[in-house]
């Protein structure tokens, strides 16, 4: 078992073995206390996966980082200012899980209506810190954060289109959207993409990221 600082440093250097170890530790921790926090047990695995990938991305893109000066762990807050992380990474993961859980419950309650699509994105992405991060790294951090904040539906469509390379017809089929046409999906995909690009560009402007 390693300390949070060691984990952060090694995950940021893409150490696969340590990342895997961190994953198992987080999983054990999460499953150990999950039942105390949440009512629904059937979505436990999904919640964990979503939360862990967020945490992992934040560490990898240096939104959570170890300050070289004082050796403490910091995270950029919603105003882009670094704030010392006063909890452990495990506890932080639970925070993500709680948010994800609420999203699940809301979506479930709304019976498939993805009202969260219109949710305001959190603007806690970057600040005028880290002179050692270049523009490319900044851009990646912002885009990764925006992707994480996408609605699950939008993320699913975009992932299937850009990552899996699926055609719109196949996406339609795989999602089981019987009430949606190909053009409807195309329009949804376009809107999702525009929304995502809008968020990204806005943050680029706010934080004066060269682009």
């Amino acid at each position: 078992m390693q300390t949070d600082i060691e984990y952060i440093k090694k995950i940021q250097t893409y150490d696969e073995r340590v990342t895997e170890q961190f994953y198992h530790e987080c999983k054990n921790f999460f499953f150990g206390i999950y039942h105390q926090l949440f009512m629904r047990k059937d979505i436990m695995e999904d919640i964990f996966q979503q939360s862990f990938v967020k945490l992992w991305t934040e560490i990898e893109t240096r939104r959570i980082y170890v300050c070289e000066d004082d050796g403490m762990v910091y995270r950029l807050d919603r105003n882009g200012r670094p704030q010392q992380l006063l909890c452990t990474l495990h506890q932080f993961l639970i925070g993500f899980a709680r948010n994800d859980y609420q999203e699940w419950v809301r979506r479930d309650t709304l019976n498939g209506h993805h009202a969260l699509d219109d949710r305001e994105m959190l603007t806690d992405v970057v600040g005028e810190v880290f002179p050692y991060l270049n523009d490319r790294q900044w851009r990646e951090q912002i885009v990764a954060a925006c992707v994480e904040e996408l609605s699950p539906r939008c993320r699913d469509i975009l992932t299937k289109f850009y990552y899996c390379g699926m055609k719109l017809e196949d996406i339609l089929l795989s999602r089981g959207d019987s009430c949606m046409s190909k053009n409807g999906l195309k329009s949804s995909k376009y809107k999702c993409m525009e929304r995502l690009k809008g968020k990204v560009m806005h943050l680029f402007d706010v934080y004066k990221i060269k682009y």
Binding site: T57, E140, V143, A144, V147
Partner: protein, 228 residues
């Protein structure tokens, strides 16, 4: 065709070579288009990175599940084996007979001979027993020794102090008896120790020579005590 569609086709490698060349040429001259392509490319990379992470997490989960499964199977097999052994020992101690012939492999390789002497001497019947006499070793059948449950365990048959027979089917039994000998030695209980040792020295195994010398020492001590 819309610009967004063109960008998608370009990034998904769906354009022909000619189309691709034209598009790249267009992007070279159009800063806005180039920025747009770069932005979609960065988004695509972020989506890819996210999916790769999820993929690796699934692999790790699978790996740990397989490890648990492997250990679980091994533990189950071991538990069944121990259970079977205990069951055999229990049934043998009661003198029960299992008619089912079983294959005993590896008895010899463990360095302990299977010794079954006249089973009728003490009233225990060992049907279908494979008898190994001092000189008569059925080498041909050594790999597969058909034996009943009675044979599969060590039975220390005490039929009088001088007529002790041991049937060893495993190193576990052999070692167990050796421990018993040491325990009796520690307690200076020569009355029980000597008969046991007398039987034990007849078994070829790793403690045979030690048992031999121990027997001589014990007999010497026992005689000295008697003289006193």
């Amino acid at each position: 065709m819309k610009t967004a569609d063109k960008i998608d086709r370009y990034l998904r490698n769906e354009m022909t070579d000619k189309e691709q060349q034209q598009f790249e040429q267009q992007a070279m001259n159009d800063v806005a288009l180039r920025r747009e392509v770069e932005l979609v490319y960065v988004i695509k990379r972020a989506l890819t990175a996210r999916q790769e992470k999820l993929k690796r997490m699934r692999e790790w989960s699978r790996k740990i599940r397989n490890t648990f499964l492997r250990y679980g199977v091994a533990a189950s097999v071991a538990a069944v084996a121990v259970g079977a052994l205990v069951s055999y020992m229990h049934s043998g101690a009661e003198g029960s007979i299992a008619d089912n012939a079983v294959t005993v492999a590896g008895v010899r390789t463990n360095g302990v001979d299977v010794v079954v002497r006249d089973p009728h001497a003490d009233g225990v019947t060992a049907r279908g027993a494979h008898t190994v006499d001092d000189g008569a070793d059925s080498a041909g059948d050594s790999e597969k020794v058909h034996s009943s449950a009675v044979e599969r365990k060590l039975v220390a048959l005490h039929s009088g102090a001088s007529n002790v027979e041991h049937r060893y089917m495993s190193v576990v039994d052999y070692e167990r008896d050796w421990k018993q000998i040491l325990s009796l030695l520690h307690k200076d209980n020569y009355a029980e120790l000597i008969p046991l040792l007398e039987a034990y020295v007849q078994i070829s195994g790793k403690h045979q020579s030690a048992a031999d010398s121990l027997l001589q020492r014990c007999q010497g001590r026992a005689n000295a005590t008697l003289r006193r």
